[in-house]
């Protein structure tokens, strides 16, 4: 090992988790370890932690994610039993020593054939729109607020996006960062009730509000210290009943109260919001309630 890799071996292991059913709370506890660092993007990780049994519908997403990790990379399957920190650290040292680098799982080819429609064969109009080689392109459409023709971009997010509950897949049309259309494609995985405790939910929301240190404190049962933690949530954001908005729900969680909110269909709730606001709203509900809402919506 060179001096560089020896130094790197002492760093916290950069890990991107893909969380299956029932393991959200366990993974969040795991990342309280100072020896691990949960990365917000697979590009910053060296190890893909596959927690639990990933359902077949999410397998393709998992493989695509795996191939996005920079080399040297590895993946580790964890069933939630025991502490996987020593295994992750060992794997990291092995990678740095030049052993165990994993190749791509998927062929390095476009997911779709070239579509033959449109001036440039991409299935859109002119130089815009369509899905050339399976890559969604922006296309002009009327803005929700003022009818101006702006670029609308449709893409699918999930099932392992770090700002969404694991398993949730949504197709979103964005104009700038405003959500103009949202279609749930798959519900979040069932995480059991320990992922929906007030402290776990409050920690997720505080993390999105740019207070990761407060999130860690709350997760371990301490009071948060950050400034404007409640006022940062715009009043009335994600209101589902009188006096029941995102701010009220965070207040309740921080006071240790469970939340029994009934969630309206996600498209009604999130359409017209900016991406940041929409993510705050989504994370102001428990994963359990979100799952129920998605399942009800699918049945309806």
């Amino acid at each position: 090992m060179s001096w560089l890799t020896r130094l790197a071996a002492q760093a916290a292991v950069p890990v991107y988790p893909c969380i299956g059913p029932g393991l959200l709370a366990a993974v969040e506890w795991l990342f309280l370890s100072p020896h691990l660092r949960r990365t917000a993007t697979p590009r910053a990780a060296a190890i893909l932690l596959v927690a639990g049994q990933i359902p077949p519908r999410a397998q393709a997403g998992l493989d695509r994610l795996h191939d996005q990790l920079p080399h040297p990379r590895a993946s580790l399957t964890w069933d939630g039993a025991g502490d996987s920190t020593p295994d992750l650290r060992r794997l990291w040292r092995e990678l740095l020593a030049g052993r165990g680098d994993q190749p791509d799982r998927l062929p390095d080819t476009p997911p779709n054939e070239w579509r033959g429609k449109g001036d440039h064969g991409q299935g859109g109009k002119g130089m815009m729109g369509g899905v050339p080689y399976g890559r969604p392109m922006a296309m002009t459409a009327k803005d929700l607020r003022d009818g101006l023709e702006l670029d609308a971009y449709t893409a699918r997010f999930g099932p392992f996006a770090p700002m969404l509950p694991p398993g949730l897949e949504v197709e979103i049309t964005l104009q700038g960062d405003v959500i103009t259309k949202l279609t749930p494609c798959a519900p979040p995985f069932d995480q059991g009730l320990d992922a929906s405790t007030p402290s776990a939910c409050a920690a997720r929301l505080l993390h999105l509000l740019g207070l990761p240190l407060d999130a860690r404190r709350v997760r371990t049962g301490k009071r948060p210290m950050g400034l404007a933690r409640l006022r940062a949530l715009p009043p009335g954001l994600g209101e589902v009943a009188p006096d029941n908005d995102a701010r009220a729900r965070l207040t309740a969680w921080l006071a240790g109260r469970e939340d029994e909110t009934h969630i309206p269909p996600l498209p009604d709730l999130l359409t017209g919001l900016e991406w940041h606001e929409a993510m705050l709203v989504l994370n102001s509900f428990t994963p359990d309630a979100l799952r129920r809402a998605c399942l009800e919506e699918a049945e309806a």
């Binding site: 993007t41 910053a44 407060d214 404190r217 950050g226 991406w275 940041h276």
Partner: protein
């Protein structure tokens, strides 16, 4: 002498970036959480350098390199007009404050290009969102800097430092430093103003960064914090002015203090939604900075 001073800039940026990264990792101690030592930033940098730098599909190759290079250069140029000794700056310019102001404004371009270049949705959202927020932040910044230049009767940073001989600007213009700290948080993509690289968009403009490319961008961010802190120390805390110790030591101490304050604010203050922040900037921060300039103008008459 000038050549030596200019050569000191990369060293200052490197040491400052390391100090800033160490302060970032010390911050958890204030929250009663385990903190990491000063070697941790070096270990994390080594971990990034040991990994591959991935190129996304059809990136804008020119701006991919240009963005971090520009960010780093702007930090260096901004730092170069800060006097190390009373009356001695690596680059002595009669319009030093204007040079710094242009570095601030061009930072918006650097961050935008960083989000533009990888050809991916999250970085692009981060890029546009940052421009929307950072533009209105630049206006209070200009008012605050002009207010600081009024008592000196000059746009030179060395003259502004000299004008603080009787009284530092932090006391003479009490609203100046708090307003300038908003600028610092924006320029360094931190905490309540980190609309470029936030957690809700998976690290935003950095979402596709890996390996050495990621390390370079993080280094540029920290370097800009060094330059901003040094400028704030010079404009509000008298820069190298102080008894007993040599000027550069005073400047370093004051720079470190501003840096620690910026790091602390970045960790301690929640980030609101972009549209609400826009409202706050235009409706509160901008009129406040104008009032600040008006008061400074009357006092300087």
């Amino acid at each position: 002498m000038t050549a030596l001073l200019i050569l000191s800039l990369p060293l200052t940026l490197a040491l400052g970036a390391w100090l800033a990264a160490s302060l970032d990792r010390l911050a958890p101690a204030l929250w009663g959480l385990p903190a990491a030592g000063p070697l941790t930033p070096l270990r994390e940098a080594a971990a990034l350098l040991a990994q591959q730098t991935i190129r996304t599909e059809r990136p804008d190759r020119l701006t991919l390199l240009l963005a971090p290079a520009l960010y780093l250069t702007l930090a260096a140029v901004g730092l170069s007009v800060v006097p190390l000794w009373p009356g001695v700056a690596p680059i002595e310019s009669p319009v030093g404050i204007v040079i710094w102001g242009s570095c601030e404004a061009l930072t918006i371009i650097a961050v935008f290009l960083h989000g533009w270049s990888p050809n991916a949705p999250f970085p692009l959202i981060g890029a546009y969102r940052y421009v929307a927020i950072a533009l209105p932040v630049m206006l209070p910044s200009m008012f605050v800097l002009i207010a600081a230049a009024l008592p000196a009767g000059s746009l030179s940073v060395t003259a502004i430092v000299a004008s603080q001989e009787p009284l530092w600007n932090v006391l003479r213009q009490p609203m100046g430093l708090p307003l300038f700290l908003l600028v610092g948080l924006t320029l360094t993509l931190r905490g309540p103003f980190d609309y470029a690289d936030g957690a809700d968009i998976a690290d935003g403009t950095s979402a596709e960064d890996s390996g050495a490319g990621r390390a370079l961008w993080q280094f540029a961010r920290l370097s800009m914090l060094v330059a901003f802190s040094a400028m704030a120390a010079a404009v509000f805390l008298g820069g190298p002015l102080g008894p007993w110790l040599p000027g550069p030591v005073w400047l370093w101490l004051k720079t470190a203090a501003v840096m620690a304050l910026t790091v602390l604010l970045g960790h301690a203050v929640a980030r609101t939604s972009p549209s609400r922040m826009l409202g706050l900037l235009w409706v509160v921060a901008l009129p406040l900075s104008f009032l600040h300039l008006a008061i400074a103008g009357v006092l300087a008459l």
